[in-house]
Symmetry: C2
Subunit: 412 residues, 2 copies
């Protein structure tokens, strides 16, 4: 019975000090976004499965955890399910990102929201991925989105707010790669790739960092012929030597550079981003300390329209919290000084004396933890020092008040 008591595969428990750090780092990101006038919202962890898998979530749809129907509905579904199609047995799914729920939320609540809606969402998402190092089946995302603003001001707001939030958690070296889906599409035209071939061409170009220029040219050639391979090769060579910011992105670069200086944005004509729903600018956040991107996003002007029947401009960016927090040092975590109030015994007098001391100790800025004196006090204090407690004081039978209480640092 004692064996193998673990959280489910790919999911994690957080110990107190880990949790404190996670909460504070996420808190800093959230409060920075709030300071830029974004507003926090929350949606349920579950959405109708039909909605989650309606083609907006790309490959992630396949990774949705499916929740079984219940009661009579389940019985009916099983009876009807002679062909072994498991899909009819589930009706809900755990969200695999925060974007699909956000567009659903906007469709549900738009009459109560400001015309330009600037949302912060932070919380867990779930994906039934094959667990591997650094990939989890429950992980936190922190997104901001602007719905209802077609001007580049929205992109500028997202990127400057995010760079600010990353600085607030000590990631001053974060940079953002930027591209534009229209540029990407024009490029594919120039390379001679027909419209119907564009999605698979994008998937090939997206592999540039893994298979390099040669590999991309080769795979494009295999799919679209030698002529495309040749123009791709010369384009990739050109791209490595010299890049000009295209006119579509100049205002964005200029604004972000006015605030953060040069070098924090980088135009990358090979940036693809997996999701099919992007319609304009796309971005990916990088940091020299991380081998993978630590976030990303883009403009998805058509997505909200799927629920409400009219297109609404929208753009969002997501910080991959699990990737970002790996880069954040522990020095950022602030802990209230903790005092262990050691009760010599659990007689009513001693307990009442300890309770009476608590408010004054709170006023002195301490977190106050009551502990019954164990046989070996040092072991107790050492183990609590590991949890961040810094001081202790003893309360016994003799009357004690704040003046007579002896507060000592632990370990001296």
């Amino acid at each position: 019975m004692a064996k193998d008591v673990h959280p489910p595969r790919g999911m994690r428990d957080f110990l107190p000090l880990e949790q404190l750090k996670r909460d504070q780092v996420l808190g800093r990101i959230r409060s920075t976004y709030r300071s830029h006038g974004f507003q926090e919202i929350e949606t349920p962890a579950l959405e109708e499965l039909e909605r989650l898998t309606s083609g907006q979530g790309g490959d992630n749809e396949k990774l949705a955890f499916r929740v079984m129907k219940r009661g009579e509905e389940l019985e009916r579904a099983i009876e009807a399910n002679s062909d072994g199609n498991a899909d009819t047995l589930a009706d809900l799914g755990l969200r695999f990102d925060l974007t699909v729920p956000l567009t659903r939320y906007y469709a549900t609540n738009r009459s109560k929201l400001p015309k330009v809606f600037k949302a912060i969402q932070s919380g867990p998402v779930w994906r039934a991925e094959r667990p591997q190092k650094g990939r989890y089946r429950q992980f936190i995302q922190c997104d901001i989105d602007i719905i209802g603003e077609s001007s580049v001001l929205a992109e500028i707001d997202l990127l400057t707010s995010s760079l600010h939030a990353l600085e607030e958690i000590g990631l001053n070296d974060a940079t953002i790669r930027v591209n534009h889906r229209v540029l990407l599409s024009n490029l594919l035209d120039d390379l001679g790739i027909p419209d119907e071939g564009k999605p698979s061409a994008m998937i090939i170009i997206d592999k540039l960092d893994k298979i390099f220029a040669e590999g991309v040219a080769k795979e494009l050639g295999e799919k679209f012929g030698a002529k495309v391979a040749a123009s791709a090769a010369s384009w990739l060579a050109l791209m490595e030597s010299k890049l000009e910011i295209p006119v579509e992105l100049q205002d964005l670069f200029r604004a972000v550079e006015s605030k953060f200086g040069k070098g924090r944005l980088r135009f990358d004509p090979t940036l693809v981003r997996g999701m099919g729903y992007y319609t304009g600018t796309i971005f990916e956040i990088e940091h020299p300390g991380s081998g993978t991107s630590i976030g990303g996003g883009g403009r998805y002007d058509g997505m909200v329209g799927r629920w409400i029947g009219e297109d609404v401009p929208a753009v969002g960016i997501s910080i991959g919290f699990e990737r970002a927090i790996e880069l954040v040092g522990d020095s950022l975590t602030q802990q209230v000084p903790g005092l262990v109030l050691v009760l010599e015994n659990d007689s009513p007098e001693v307990i009442a004396a300890a309770l009476k001391l608590q408010p004054a100790l709170f006023e002195h800025g301490y977190a106050v933890r009551l502990e019954l004196r164990p046989k070996k006090l040092n072991i107790l204090l050492d183990s609590l020092a590991e949890q961040g407690f810094t001081h202790f004081a003893s309360v016994g039978e003799e009357a004690v008040n704040m003046d007579s209480l002896v507060i000592k640092p632990i370990g001296n």
Copy 2:
């Protein structure tokens, strides 16, 4: 397509101002508990279904949302599932409370935790209940638990910390009904109820507030005979006239009264609490503003032992956040003053000027929201005033700095 875009049945979206209030009220509860030396932890939302439904969760086990197996495992389960037993198709479940996951967490991580472990958990739980007013299928619980302390100090710590937390959210009138499972068991002995009849007798007594003394005596009589009915009736009559705090609870009452005065704890010999796992004191939090309890808990010394093979004393209390927040006024919510920086247009010059003003406005304590001037500025400002924004200022082509920026209150 536009029709019926809603969150799943029984689940809720939260609008920005609701979410702000929820976050701040929960934040106050959490920080009060932290000030008492409790530590926050987190477990995954999902647990192995087998563990969730191993009999520790009482009736709630039936309400667990079940997550379907995936991939080949699902295919195998469907093939093997000739008898239509849906249970074999699921392997995970959404947690329906925070206690079962906590005991699993303790079993997994106890070597890294302090000997007396004082945990705070706050987060959503899910129950597939028939939706009704005030009952949701996803809702937040906020629990504290002490594992590893058998002294009444643990109960005192839980109840004084919780009364303090409730006061911090303005619920100064919260009271706690207290009973003890051993007293309850002795009482049932005195009434002449055999051991095997005790669980159903407890269920009957638990209905006292719905069916009153007469109903309880009647139902006990139907089940256990006229003699039991008669002794139950006289016990219930006695109980209404005069109650003495039994010796088992005197230290607890004395300590809590030393801090909060008389009347905040109330001995209730009819308090049962549904869960089978309680072994000692049980409590239920009430407030005059609420028709139902707003929390509860008790001692469950045998539960951790199920996972690790040795009993560990444990006691916990849960604040039903959804019930509690209904009693909290909006005045508690604090909002950073929000300033709308209205850009006359989205030219690079105007955007750069606005971005340049932001840091100084942050320093002045404002949250600063960038908005492109719409045709009707008043409509924009009114809608943002509803969201808590209090001031605005305009940025146009002419050079502007903090000295020349005109900040006006919205609505004047």
